[in-house]
Amino acid sequence: MDLSWSTQERELEAAAATLLAREWSVADARIVYQDTSDGQAAARRLRAKITEAGWLGIAFGEDVAGAGGTLFDLGIVFRQFGRYLVPTSISSTIAAALLIDAFASPDQRAEYLGPLVRGESSGTVALTEPGLDSAYELTATSAKHAASGYEISGDKTFVPDAETADLTVVSARLERGALALFAVPKREAGGITYEPNSIMDRAPSADINLSGVQLSGSCLLRGHEDWDARVYLQKLNDAMDRVTILRCLEMLGGAERALEFTARHVSEREQFGRPIGTFQAVQMHIADMYTAVYSARLACFKALTKVSTEGSASMQVSIAKSLASYAADLVTVYSHELHGGMGIVTEGSLFLWSRRAKALEGRTGRAEYHLDRVADAALA
């Protein structure tokens, strides 16, 4: 057993941190929060830098100009995304790319995945629906055969970066009942309307209504021809586990950063003539935060390793998600308590991490869903 990283992995982490420290300040994160149009311009500038660094292509094949690296490496970068509050458009694009990667034919890889990996277009994923969070087998959006190829109708909810994404991966039920994914290019698709959400981290997000959206037959992401409906669903769950574990790493990075600056705050802030960090009650809070983050870090990297090397590790992903959500919530709640008034004013910055932590908790599936998966395995 060896839990240490290679030199390459350490260097990647350092490089990611260095680039983000230089290119994405708290002030930038604040603009995204305060003003969407300026925020989107800032996010586009950052995306250009991230594209240049090759991070969009880390986990994708060389056939689409990716680096042929591992999901593990991408996870290292996502942890830094969490530390620096990188705009959601980057992770939305990578999420779309991961789904396409799992289901696309060679032609579709060239057409859809290539531009995402090269930073030429942005993407997002639309799987959730009214009444559907993670049980994709219950998808209600329908896809009918039409003259163009397919016609899709239905409602999708909480689609991150919905209005700016050039390509949206949409799940729908085919006429014979089987679940399928479609790559829906914005330029082709009429019949989509957007209802923006206002969600906790103020990141762009919208419910979308697809009303008879006409798609060419080549938009259907069929996966391997041998896959039956059961396998297809399994592959979708596996692919979404990859997205989930990356977002868990992002949550972890945010919790680690918040804990670091809270530890510094209580060591410096004085009351009653001494740093408040000398008080036992404060130290006990800090210790519980440390332990929550420590266990979440181990569980996230274990799940990331398993998903990266074995492809499927639902139990490990659910455990990591549970511990990461717990840590992110505990750290931000205690951090607010320990910062007092300075933790809640918008002049400070703690709230930016708190908002993101809760948004990520929501975007990684409900705790109940994940605990159910754990219970299924534990009580099998």
Partner: protein, 436 residues
């Protein structure tokens, strides 16, 4: 990808990477973190299991149920067998007759032993795996000659003589004193919570040999035979059936050479031993896994209020939460062991593990008893107690896990100070940890 594209990522070229050299990865450089036990570790686990299967006889278990940890004939046989196999000296260097195994293998050993609910482990483990390493690291040549072989043979078992009525968590307040008289130390004072004193052969006794003003520097450790004249052991009963003791020392005389290491070095030795003890306590996850496994097996076959417990949503949630937390504890234990094997002293991590796993134990008892309802409060002596009363017993025994080896309240301060650099408190926090 061409080979040379990879080079910027390889070895000492951080600045180039940081300047914005594109991410590039050689295909053969897959991720290198390995979360699985090696085949060698797994083989070791199987070996320990086999030993336990063969040696945990009914007679042995009965002897221990009837009289607690015992020096009865069955227990003595077991300890002798451990000695013959070298398992009393697992972590010791080969030159002292040890097996020289690392922390990961020791973790596996403790895990399996506690999972099997095998008796005798705690005291024997503490002597072998917490005290013996102190003698090996700090002992004089005489100390090594006097104690290591008898410990290895199972002929010497130490009771930890640390706490006193006025010196518990604030151990440096201890007042039991040893005064040199010619070639002998003369000891006067008393110890409390002296758990193994009625079954051990010797006290691992923390005493004051220096001036009382020197709280930490004046402490020494002396090995004291419990059958020496002037030693009196008085039983203290506890609500979970565990026997502990108050022990009095009146003009007890022991040879000068029984002082371990250097006079005044005691604080450092206690700290070193306590670090090991905490890791043993925190790493006793086999017991936790056993409780959860037994609970899972029980809810699958037990119907209550119209359905199997395992099909009830609230029960499933409780079980899943415990499963998640047990995995967290196991990962921390493994990480701590791996760090020790690399030569680190992972004090904040090991301390966090001790707090976390001791509190997980109490939650398994709490959630479990809640799931079982009124049947859950049958105590371990009721032969119809579900899970053989293991959860009920844990509920009563658990406070010891929370304060033993350093109370969790102070452990949290250590985590905050060592783990995240928080300032020291009002009092000088010198609760035994290494590296003070």
């Amino acid at each position: 990808m061409r080979r040379e594209d990879c080079c910027p990522m390889v070895g000492g070229t951080l600045s180039a990477v940081a300047r914005g050299v594109r991410y590039a990865r050689c295909r053969e450089l897959e991720c290198t973190v390995d979360w699985d036990y090696t085949p060698e570790d797994q083989q070791w686990r199987a070996e320990v299991r086999k030993f336990l299967d063969e040696n945990l006889t009914e007679a042995l278990q009965r002897e221990n149920v009837e009289i607690g940890f015992s020096t009865g004939p069955e227990t003595k046989k077991l300890i002798r067998k451990l000695a013959d196999m070298g398992w009393n000296a697992l972590t010791w260097p080969a030159e002292y007759g040890g097996k020289n195994v690392g922390a990961v293998k020791r973790l596996i050993f403790v895990e399996e032993w506690t999972y099997a609910q095998a008796p005798a482990i705690t005291y024997v483990e503490i002597t072998n795996a917490a005290i013996a390493p102190v003698i090996i690291k700090y002992g004089t040549p005489e100390n090594k000659a006097d104690w290591l072989e008898p410990v290895r043979r199972g002929d010497v078992i130490f009771a930890l003589g640390y706490s006193e009525p006025q010196a518990g968590t604030d151990l440096a307040g201890l007042t039991t004193r040893a005064v040199l008289d010619g070639e002998e130390w003369v000891i006067n004072g008393q110890k409390i919570w002296n758990s193994a004193a009625h079954v051990a052969t010797h006290e691992w006794l923390a005493v004051r040999t220096g001036p009382s003003g020197d709280r930490h520097g004046g402490i020494s450790v002396i090995a004291v035979p419990i059958d020496a004249p002037g030693v009196e052991v008085h039983e203290i009963k506890t609500w979970h059936g565990h026997r502990t003791n108050q022990t009095f020392f009146t003009d007890v005389r022991v040879p000068r050479r029984n002082l371990i290491g250097e006079p005044g070095g005691g604080w450092q030795y206690l700290a070193y031993a306590l670090d090991f003890e905490r890791i043993t306590l925190g790493g006793s996850l086999g017991h936790v896994r056993r409780m959860l496994d037994d609970l899972k097996a029980h809810v699958k076959v037990t119907r209550l209020d119209g359905s199997f417990l395992a099909d009830q949503a609230a029960v499933r949630r409780s079980i899943a939460e415990l499963e998640v937390r047990l995995e967290a504890a196991k990962l921390m234990a493994l990480d701590v062991a791996v760090r020790i094997d690399k030569g680190e002293t992972p004090t904040p991590q090991g301390t966090a593990l001790k707090v976390y796993s001791s509190e997980l134990r109490s939650d398994i008892a709490r959630y479990g008893m809640s799931i079982l309802g009124i049947a859950g409060v049958r105590d371990q002596y009721d032969e119809l107690a579900p899970l053989g009363g293991i959860l009920e017993h844990e509920y009563r025994a658990n406070p010891v896990a929370r304060f033993g080896g350093g109370t969790n309240d102070v452990m949290r301060e250590i985590v905050a100070q060592r783990g995240l650099g928080l300032p020291r408190g009002i009092r000088r926090l010198k609760v035994a940890t290494e590296g003070e």
